[in-house]
Amino acid sequence: MSIWEYANPVKFMRLSDAILPWTVAGAAIFTIGGVLWGFLTPQDYRQGATVKIIFLHVPSAMMAINIWVMMLVTSLIWLIRRHHVSALAAKAAAPVGAVMTLIALATGAIWGQPMWGTWWEWDPRLTSFLVLFLFYIGYIALWSAIEDPDSAADLTGVLCLVGSVFALLSRYAVLFWNQGLHQGASLSVAPGERMSAVYRYPLYLSMLGFFLLFLALLLIRTRTEIRRRRLAALQARETRA
Protein backbone atom coordinates (compact mmCIF):
# COMPACT_ATOMS: atom_id res chain seq x y z
CA MET A 1 0.00 0.00 0.00
CA SER A 2 1.62 3.22 -1.15
CA ILE A 3 1.58 6.39 0.86
CA TRP A 4 -0.93 7.76 -1.61
CA GLU A 5 -3.55 5.12 -0.93
CA TYR A 6 -3.23 5.88 2.72
CA ALA A 7 -3.74 9.58 2.18
CA ASN A 8 -6.68 9.12 -0.10
CA PRO A 9 -9.42 11.75 0.28
CA VAL A 10 -12.04 9.02 0.43
CA LYS A 11 -10.25 7.44 3.38
CA PHE A 12 -9.97 10.83 5.01
CA MET A 13 -13.66 11.45 4.59
CA ARG A 14 -14.49 8.10 6.12
CA LEU A 15 -12.15 8.55 9.06
CA SER A 16 -13.18 12.12 9.76
CA ASP A 17 -16.81 11.15 9.47
CA ALA A 18 -16.28 8.70 12.32
CA ILE A 19 -14.43 10.99 14.72
CA LEU A 20 -16.12 14.29 13.95
CA PRO A 21 -19.15 13.87 16.28
CA TRP A 22 -16.88 12.97 19.20
CA THR A 23 -14.65 15.93 18.54
CA VAL A 24 -17.56 18.33 18.34
CA ALA A 25 -19.05 16.99 21.52
CA GLY A 26 -15.71 17.13 23.33
CA ALA A 27 -15.07 20.65 22.13
CA ALA A 28 -18.46 21.84 23.34
CA ILE A 29 -18.15 20.18 26.72
CA PHE A 30 -14.60 21.19 27.53
CA THR A 31 -14.70 24.70 26.16
CA ILE A 32 -17.94 25.64 27.82
CA GLY A 33 -17.05 23.70 30.93
CA GLY A 34 -13.60 25.22 31.24
CA VAL A 35 -14.73 28.78 30.70
CA LEU A 36 -17.73 28.41 33.01
CA TRP A 37 -15.63 26.84 35.74
CA GLY A 38 -13.17 29.64 35.25
CA PHE A 39 -15.88 32.20 35.73
CA LEU A 40 -16.97 30.62 38.96
CA THR A 41 -13.48 30.88 40.47
CA PRO A 42 -12.95 33.41 43.26
CA GLN A 43 -11.75 36.87 42.36
CA ASP A 44 -8.05 37.51 42.28
CA TYR A 45 -6.91 39.74 45.11
CA ARG A 46 -5.03 42.06 42.81
CA GLN A 47 -6.84 41.90 39.53
CA GLY A 48 -10.38 41.39 40.58
CA ALA A 49 -12.82 39.81 38.21
CA THR A 50 -10.84 40.74 35.13
CA VAL A 51 -8.55 37.77 35.66
CA LYS A 52 -11.30 35.53 34.39
CA ILE A 53 -10.62 36.55 30.85
CA ILE A 54 -7.47 34.44 31.11
CA PHE A 55 -9.57 31.37 30.38
CA LEU A 56 -10.23 32.70 26.92
CA HIS A 57 -7.00 34.56 26.44
CA VAL A 58 -4.35 31.96 27.12
CA PRO A 59 -5.93 29.02 25.26
CA SER A 60 -6.57 31.12 22.19
CA ALA A 61 -3.06 32.55 22.30
CA MET A 62 -1.58 29.07 22.49
CA MET A 63 -3.75 27.77 19.70
CA ALA A 64 -2.83 30.72 17.51
CA ILE A 65 0.79 29.64 17.59
CA ASN A 66 0.13 25.94 17.41
CA ILE A 67 -2.13 26.28 14.40
CA TRP A 68 0.60 28.05 12.47
CA VAL A 69 2.98 25.21 13.32
CA MET A 70 0.40 22.72 12.16
CA MET A 71 0.04 24.65 8.89
CA LEU A 72 3.77 24.54 8.42
CA VAL A 73 3.80 20.78 8.88
CA THR A 74 0.90 20.13 6.53
CA SER A 75 2.38 22.49 3.95
CA LEU A 76 5.61 20.53 4.08
CA ILE A 77 3.74 17.27 3.67
CA TRP A 78 2.02 18.72 0.63
CA LEU A 79 5.18 20.09 -0.92
CA ILE A 80 7.14 16.90 -0.40
CA ARG A 81 4.59 14.10 -0.67
CA ARG A 82 1.91 15.82 -2.79
CA HIS A 83 -0.77 14.79 -0.35
CA HIS A 84 -3.78 16.79 -1.50
CA VAL A 85 -5.79 16.54 1.71
CA SER A 86 -2.81 17.93 3.55
CA ALA A 87 -2.79 21.08 1.45
CA LEU A 88 -6.50 21.53 2.00
CA ALA A 89 -6.05 21.03 5.73
CA ALA A 90 -3.53 23.86 5.78
CA LYS A 91 -5.97 26.04 3.88
CA ALA A 92 -8.78 25.12 6.25
CA ALA A 93 -6.70 25.80 9.35
CA ALA A 94 -5.59 29.30 8.41
CA PRO A 95 -8.83 31.21 9.10
CA VAL A 96 -9.26 29.35 12.37
CA GLY A 97 -5.75 30.37 13.34
CA ALA A 98 -6.38 33.95 12.33
CA VAL A 99 -9.53 34.05 14.46
CA MET A 100 -7.68 32.55 17.41
CA THR A 101 -5.05 35.26 17.05
CA LEU A 102 -7.77 37.83 16.87
CA ILE A 103 -9.41 36.46 20.02
CA ALA A 104 -6.08 36.53 21.84
CA LEU A 105 -5.52 40.10 20.69
CA ALA A 106 -9.03 41.22 21.55
CA THR A 107 -9.13 39.60 24.98
CA GLY A 108 -5.66 40.95 25.62
CA ALA A 109 -6.82 44.42 24.66
CA ILE A 110 -9.90 44.15 26.86
CA TRP A 111 -7.71 42.95 29.67
CA GLY A 112 -5.15 45.62 29.05
CA GLN A 113 -7.69 48.40 29.51
CA PRO A 114 -8.18 47.84 33.28
CA MET A 115 -4.67 46.49 33.88
CA TRP A 116 -2.48 48.94 31.97
CA GLY A 117 -4.96 51.71 31.36
CA THR A 118 -4.61 51.43 27.63
CA TRP A 119 -6.13 49.27 24.94
CA TRP A 120 -2.91 48.69 23.17
CA GLU A 121 0.72 48.65 24.13
CA TRP A 122 3.64 47.87 21.84
CA ASP A 123 4.81 45.20 24.21
CA PRO A 124 6.99 42.57 22.49
CA ARG A 125 4.56 39.77 23.15
CA LEU A 126 1.56 41.67 21.86
CA THR A 127 3.54 42.94 18.91
CA SER A 128 4.66 39.45 17.98
CA PHE A 129 1.05 38.44 17.94
CA LEU A 130 0.14 41.27 15.67
CA VAL A 131 2.90 40.16 13.35
CA LEU A 132 1.62 36.61 13.45
CA PHE A 133 -1.79 37.94 12.53
CA LEU A 134 -0.24 39.69 9.54
CA PHE A 135 1.28 36.43 8.37
CA TYR A 136 -2.07 34.72 8.72
CA ILE A 137 -3.91 37.25 6.60
CA GLY A 138 -1.18 37.28 3.98
CA TYR A 139 -1.48 33.52 3.71
CA ILE A 140 -5.28 33.63 3.50
CA ALA A 141 -5.23 36.43 0.95
CA LEU A 142 -2.87 34.48 -1.25
CA TRP A 143 -5.11 31.43 -1.17
CA SER A 144 -8.09 33.48 -2.18
CA ALA A 145 -6.24 35.35 -4.92
CA ILE A 146 -5.04 32.40 -6.99
CA GLU A 147 -7.62 30.59 -9.08
CA ASP A 148 -5.77 27.45 -10.01
CA PRO A 149 -5.92 25.13 -6.97
CA ASP A 150 -2.63 23.39 -7.66
CA SER A 151 -0.68 26.60 -8.05
CA ALA A 152 -2.43 28.06 -5.04
CA ALA A 153 -1.48 25.10 -2.89
CA ASP A 154 2.13 25.20 -4.03
CA LEU A 155 2.57 28.94 -3.70
CA THR A 156 0.92 29.18 -0.31
CA GLY A 157 3.08 26.27 0.79
CA VAL A 158 6.21 28.12 -0.22
CA LEU A 159 4.91 31.25 1.48
CA CYS A 160 4.20 29.32 4.66
CA LEU A 161 7.76 28.00 4.71
CA VAL A 162 9.40 31.35 4.16
CA GLY A 163 6.85 33.05 6.41
CA SER A 164 7.56 30.69 9.30
CA VAL A 165 11.23 31.56 9.21
CA PHE A 166 10.47 35.24 9.17
CA ALA A 167 7.77 35.01 11.82
CA LEU A 168 10.35 33.48 14.12
CA LEU A 169 12.95 36.02 13.10
CA SER A 170 10.47 38.83 13.71
CA ARG A 171 9.80 37.54 17.18
CA TYR A 172 13.46 37.86 18.10
CA ALA A 173 13.77 41.16 16.32
CA VAL A 174 10.79 42.48 18.25
CA LEU A 175 12.29 41.38 21.53
CA PHE A 176 15.47 43.17 20.58
CA TRP A 177 13.56 46.28 19.58
CA ASN A 178 11.53 46.74 22.71
CA GLN A 179 13.89 45.54 25.43
CA GLY A 180 14.07 48.89 27.16
CA LEU A 181 10.35 49.42 27.30
CA HIS A 182 9.46 45.93 28.32
CA GLN A 183 6.62 45.82 30.82
CA GLY A 184 7.91 45.11 34.26
CA ALA A 185 6.75 42.15 36.32
CA SER A 186 4.57 44.47 38.34
CA LEU A 187 2.30 44.97 35.40
CA SER A 188 2.27 41.67 33.64
CA VAL A 189 0.95 38.87 35.74
CA ALA A 190 3.69 36.43 36.62
CA PRO A 191 3.49 33.14 34.75
CA GLY A 192 2.43 29.71 35.87
CA GLU A 193 4.29 29.17 39.08
CA ARG A 194 2.35 31.75 41.02
CA MET A 195 -0.94 30.67 39.61
CA SER A 196 -2.85 28.70 42.15
CA ALA A 197 -4.60 25.45 41.39
CA VAL A 198 -7.91 27.27 41.57
CA TYR A 199 -7.07 28.86 38.30
CA ARG A 200 -4.86 26.15 36.87
CA TYR A 201 -7.36 23.35 36.46
CA PRO A 202 -10.09 25.29 34.71
CA LEU A 203 -7.35 26.74 32.53
CA TYR A 204 -6.16 23.28 31.51
CA LEU A 205 -9.73 22.34 30.81
CA SER A 206 -10.42 25.25 28.54
CA MET A 207 -7.09 24.67 26.80
CA LEU A 208 -8.19 21.16 26.01
CA GLY A 209 -11.52 22.56 24.92
CA PHE A 210 -9.92 25.03 22.58
CA PHE A 211 -7.77 22.31 21.08
CA LEU A 212 -10.80 20.13 20.43
CA LEU A 213 -12.64 23.13 19.09
CA PHE A 214 -9.85 23.69 16.62
CA LEU A 215 -9.82 20.03 15.66
CA ALA A 216 -13.56 20.03 15.06
CA LEU A 217 -13.44 23.20 13.00
CA LEU A 218 -10.48 21.87 11.08
CA LEU A 219 -12.23 18.65 10.23
CA ILE A 220 -15.42 20.39 9.21
CA ARG A 221 -13.63 22.94 7.08
CA THR A 222 -11.40 20.36 5.44
CA ARG A 223 -14.39 18.23 4.61
CA THR A 224 -16.16 21.22 3.09
CA GLU A 225 -13.04 22.03 1.16
CA ILE A 226 -12.78 18.48 -0.15
CA ARG A 227 -16.40 18.49 -1.22
CA ARG A 228 -15.92 21.80 -2.96
CA ARG A 229 -12.89 20.52 -4.83
CA ARG A 230 -14.79 17.41 -5.78
CA LEU A 231 -17.63 19.48 -7.16
CA ALA A 232 -15.23 21.70 -9.09
CA ALA A 233 -13.42 18.67 -10.47
CA LEU A 234 -16.61 17.05 -11.68
CA GLN A 235 -17.78 20.27 -13.26
CA ALA A 236 -14.44 20.81 -14.97
CA ARG A 237 -14.50 17.29 -16.33
CA GLU A 238 -18.03 17.75 -17.61
CA THR A 239 -17.29 20.92 -19.55
CA ARG A 240 -14.11 19.41 -20.93
CA ALA A 241 -15.85 16.31 -22.24
Partner: protein
Amino acid sequence: MLALLRRDLVLAVRAGGGFGLAVAFFLIISALVPFGVGPGVAALRPIAAGILWLGALLSCLLSLDRIFALDHEDGSLDLLATAPVPLEGAVAVKALAHWITTGLPLVAASPLFGILLHLPGQAMPWLIISLLIGTPALSMLGAFGAAITMGLRRGGLLLSLLVLPLYIPTLIFGTEIVRRGADGGDPGTPILFLAGITLAVLALVPFAAAAALRINLR
Protein backbone atom coordinates in the same frame (compact mmCIF):
# COMPACT_ATOMS: atom_id res chain seq x y z
CA MET B 1 -22.15 52.42 -16.22
CA LEU B 2 -23.66 50.31 -13.52
CA ALA B 3 -22.37 47.28 -15.38
CA LEU B 4 -18.88 48.75 -15.29
CA LEU B 5 -19.13 49.44 -11.57
CA ARG B 6 -20.32 45.95 -10.92
CA ARG B 7 -17.59 44.42 -13.06
CA ASP B 8 -14.86 46.40 -11.37
CA LEU B 9 -16.12 45.41 -7.95
CA VAL B 10 -16.35 41.76 -8.94
CA LEU B 11 -12.85 41.90 -10.37
CA ALA B 12 -11.51 43.53 -7.23
CA VAL B 13 -13.05 40.80 -5.11
CA ARG B 14 -11.90 37.93 -7.32
CA ALA B 15 -8.42 39.29 -7.88
CA GLY B 16 -7.54 38.55 -4.32
CA GLY B 17 -8.96 40.06 -1.24
CA GLY B 18 -10.93 43.00 -2.47
CA PHE B 19 -12.22 44.95 0.46
CA GLY B 20 -10.00 43.45 3.11
CA LEU B 21 -6.77 44.08 1.31
CA ALA B 22 -6.62 47.82 1.80
CA VAL B 23 -7.41 47.41 5.48
CA ALA B 24 -4.72 44.79 5.81
CA PHE B 25 -2.23 47.06 4.16
CA PHE B 26 -3.21 49.81 6.54
CA LEU B 27 -2.74 47.44 9.44
CA ILE B 28 0.76 46.61 8.26
CA ILE B 29 1.67 50.24 7.88
CA SER B 30 0.35 50.93 11.38
CA ALA B 31 2.46 48.06 12.66
CA LEU B 32 5.59 49.06 10.80
CA VAL B 33 5.61 52.66 11.96
CA PRO B 34 6.27 51.78 15.61
CA PHE B 35 9.05 49.47 14.46
CA GLY B 36 10.52 52.44 12.71
CA VAL B 37 9.99 55.22 15.22
CA GLY B 38 9.85 53.36 18.49
CA PRO B 39 7.01 51.98 20.57
CA GLY B 40 6.33 54.63 23.18
CA VAL B 41 3.10 56.54 23.51
CA ALA B 42 5.12 59.73 23.55
CA ALA B 43 6.65 58.93 20.20
CA LEU B 44 3.46 57.74 18.56
CA ARG B 45 0.69 60.01 19.73
CA PRO B 46 1.87 63.21 18.05
CA ILE B 47 2.40 61.55 14.69
CA ALA B 48 -0.61 59.23 14.72
CA ALA B 49 -2.89 61.44 12.65
CA GLY B 50 -0.21 62.08 10.07
CA ILE B 51 0.72 58.43 9.79
CA LEU B 52 -2.87 57.34 9.38
CA TRP B 53 -3.38 59.83 6.59
CA LEU B 54 -0.12 58.85 4.94
CA GLY B 55 -1.19 55.24 5.13
CA ALA B 56 -4.42 56.12 3.36
CA LEU B 57 -2.45 57.86 0.64
CA LEU B 58 -0.15 54.91 0.16
CA SER B 59 -2.79 52.21 0.11
CA CYS B 60 -4.55 54.31 -2.50
CA LEU B 61 -1.39 54.48 -4.57
CA LEU B 62 -0.61 50.81 -4.37
CA SER B 63 -4.03 49.76 -5.50
CA LEU B 64 -4.58 52.37 -8.17
CA ASP B 65 -1.62 52.05 -10.43
CA ARG B 66 -3.08 49.45 -12.72
CA ILE B 67 -6.77 50.28 -12.99
CA PHE B 68 -6.45 51.63 -16.49
CA ALA B 69 -3.28 49.82 -17.49
CA LEU B 70 -4.99 46.44 -17.19
CA ASP B 71 -7.94 47.51 -19.27
CA HIS B 72 -5.54 48.92 -21.79
CA GLU B 73 -3.47 45.78 -22.07
CA ASP B 74 -6.34 43.41 -22.55
CA GLY B 75 -8.06 45.72 -25.01
CA SER B 76 -11.09 46.54 -22.85
CA LEU B 77 -10.30 50.22 -22.96
CA ASP B 78 -10.39 50.31 -26.76
CA LEU B 79 -13.78 48.72 -26.60
CA LEU B 80 -15.01 50.98 -23.80
CA ALA B 81 -13.92 54.02 -25.76
CA THR B 82 -16.11 52.92 -28.67
CA ALA B 83 -19.01 51.99 -26.40
CA PRO B 84 -22.01 54.26 -25.84
CA VAL B 85 -20.74 55.45 -22.45
CA PRO B 86 -18.88 58.73 -22.08
CA LEU B 87 -15.28 58.11 -21.12
CA GLU B 88 -15.61 60.72 -18.38
CA GLY B 89 -18.33 58.61 -16.83
CA ALA B 90 -16.26 55.49 -17.11
CA VAL B 91 -13.39 57.22 -15.32
CA ALA B 92 -15.67 58.41 -12.55
CA VAL B 93 -17.18 54.96 -12.15
CA LYS B 94 -13.78 53.35 -11.98
CA ALA B 95 -12.67 55.83 -9.35
CA LEU B 96 -15.87 55.11 -7.44
CA ALA B 97 -15.27 51.38 -7.59
CA HIS B 98 -11.79 52.01 -6.32
CA TRP B 99 -13.05 54.11 -3.48
CA ILE B 100 -15.57 51.46 -2.48
CA THR B 101 -12.91 48.79 -2.35
CA THR B 102 -10.19 50.89 -0.74
CA GLY B 103 -11.37 54.14 0.77
CA LEU B 104 -14.56 52.93 2.37
CA PRO B 105 -13.10 49.93 4.23
CA LEU B 106 -10.34 52.20 5.40
CA VAL B 107 -12.76 54.70 6.82
CA ALA B 108 -14.63 51.94 8.57
CA ALA B 109 -11.52 50.37 10.08
CA SER B 110 -9.66 53.57 10.92
CA PRO B 111 -10.61 53.76 14.63
CA LEU B 112 -8.86 50.46 15.17
CA PHE B 113 -5.66 51.82 13.75
CA GLY B 114 -6.16 54.94 15.76
CA ILE B 115 -6.02 52.77 18.88
CA LEU B 116 -2.89 51.01 17.69
CA LEU B 117 -1.13 54.33 17.22
CA HIS B 118 -2.44 55.79 20.47
CA LEU B 119 -4.55 58.44 18.83
CA PRO B 120 -6.47 60.22 21.63
CA GLY B 121 -10.06 59.12 21.92
CA GLN B 122 -11.65 62.48 21.27
CA ALA B 123 -9.87 62.64 17.90
CA MET B 124 -11.44 59.43 16.60
CA PRO B 125 -14.66 60.90 15.21
CA TRP B 126 -12.64 63.55 13.44
CA LEU B 127 -10.35 60.94 11.97
CA ILE B 128 -13.34 59.13 10.52
CA ILE B 129 -14.93 62.32 9.25
CA SER B 130 -11.75 63.58 7.67
CA LEU B 131 -11.09 60.27 5.92
CA LEU B 132 -14.68 60.04 4.77
CA ILE B 133 -14.50 63.46 3.20
CA GLY B 134 -10.97 63.20 1.91
CA THR B 135 -10.55 59.71 0.48
CA PRO B 136 -12.87 60.21 -2.53
CA ALA B 137 -10.51 62.90 -3.72
CA LEU B 138 -7.60 60.51 -3.30
CA SER B 139 -9.27 57.91 -5.50
CA MET B 140 -10.18 60.43 -8.16
CA LEU B 141 -6.75 62.05 -8.28
CA GLY B 142 -5.17 58.62 -8.34
CA ALA B 143 -7.36 57.70 -11.29
CA PHE B 144 -6.11 60.77 -13.07
CA GLY B 145 -2.51 59.78 -12.44
CA ALA B 146 -3.24 56.23 -13.54
CA ALA B 147 -4.78 57.55 -16.75
CA ILE B 148 -1.69 59.58 -17.50
CA THR B 149 0.75 56.75 -16.85
CA MET B 150 -1.44 54.11 -18.42
CA GLY B 151 0.75 53.24 -21.37
CA LEU B 152 3.93 52.93 -19.34
CA ARG B 153 5.16 49.50 -18.51
CA ARG B 154 6.32 50.24 -14.99
CA GLY B 155 4.15 53.05 -13.80
CA GLY B 156 4.34 52.41 -10.06
CA LEU B 157 7.01 54.85 -8.97
CA LEU B 158 6.27 57.37 -11.68
CA LEU B 159 2.62 57.37 -10.76
CA SER B 160 3.42 58.12 -7.15
CA LEU B 161 5.68 60.89 -8.29
CA LEU B 162 2.84 62.48 -10.21
CA VAL B 163 0.07 61.83 -7.75
CA LEU B 164 1.60 62.39 -4.33
CA PRO B 165 2.15 66.11 -4.92
CA LEU B 166 -1.50 66.37 -5.90
CA TYR B 167 -2.40 64.79 -2.59
CA ILE B 168 -0.66 67.45 -0.53
CA PRO B 169 -3.62 69.79 0.07
CA THR B 170 -5.84 66.87 1.02
CA LEU B 171 -3.19 65.58 3.37
CA ILE B 172 -2.67 68.95 5.02
CA PHE B 173 -6.33 69.66 5.69
CA GLY B 174 -7.07 66.05 6.60
CA THR B 175 -4.41 65.89 9.30
CA GLU B 176 -5.29 69.36 10.48
CA ILE B 177 -8.85 68.25 11.16
CA VAL B 178 -7.64 65.36 13.25
CA ARG B 179 -5.05 67.45 15.05
CA ARG B 180 -7.51 70.12 15.97
CA GLY B 181 -9.99 67.47 17.01
CA ALA B 182 -7.36 65.91 19.28
CA ASP B 183 -6.45 69.25 20.84
CA GLY B 184 -10.07 70.16 21.36
CA GLY B 185 -9.86 72.94 18.78
CA ASP B 186 -12.45 73.75 16.15
CA PRO B 187 -11.99 71.64 13.03
CA GLY B 188 -14.67 73.54 11.10
CA THR B 189 -12.42 75.48 8.76
CA PRO B 190 -10.23 72.62 7.58
CA ILE B 191 -13.36 70.50 7.11
CA LEU B 192 -14.77 73.15 4.83
CA PHE B 193 -11.56 73.35 2.86
CA LEU B 194 -11.26 69.58 2.58
CA ALA B 195 -14.84 69.22 1.41
CA GLY B 196 -14.30 72.00 -1.10
CA ILE B 197 -11.23 70.28 -2.51
CA THR B 198 -12.99 66.95 -2.75
CA LEU B 199 -16.02 68.44 -4.48
CA ALA B 200 -13.90 70.34 -6.97
CA VAL B 201 -11.80 67.27 -7.69
CA LEU B 202 -14.84 65.08 -8.21
CA ALA B 203 -16.39 67.62 -10.53
CA LEU B 204 -13.41 68.48 -12.68
CA VAL B 205 -10.78 65.76 -12.67
CA PRO B 206 -12.83 63.16 -14.60
CA PHE B 207 -12.56 65.40 -17.65
CA ALA B 208 -8.81 65.67 -17.36
CA ALA B 209 -8.49 61.94 -16.80
CA ALA B 210 -10.68 61.11 -19.79
CA ALA B 211 -8.62 63.45 -21.95
CA ALA B 212 -5.45 61.69 -20.81
CA LEU B 213 -7.01 58.34 -21.65
CA ARG B 214 -7.97 59.47 -25.15
CA ILE B 215 -4.45 60.66 -25.77
CA ASN B 216 -3.00 57.41 -24.56
CA LEU B 217 -5.33 55.38 -26.73
CA ARG B 218 -4.29 57.05 -29.97
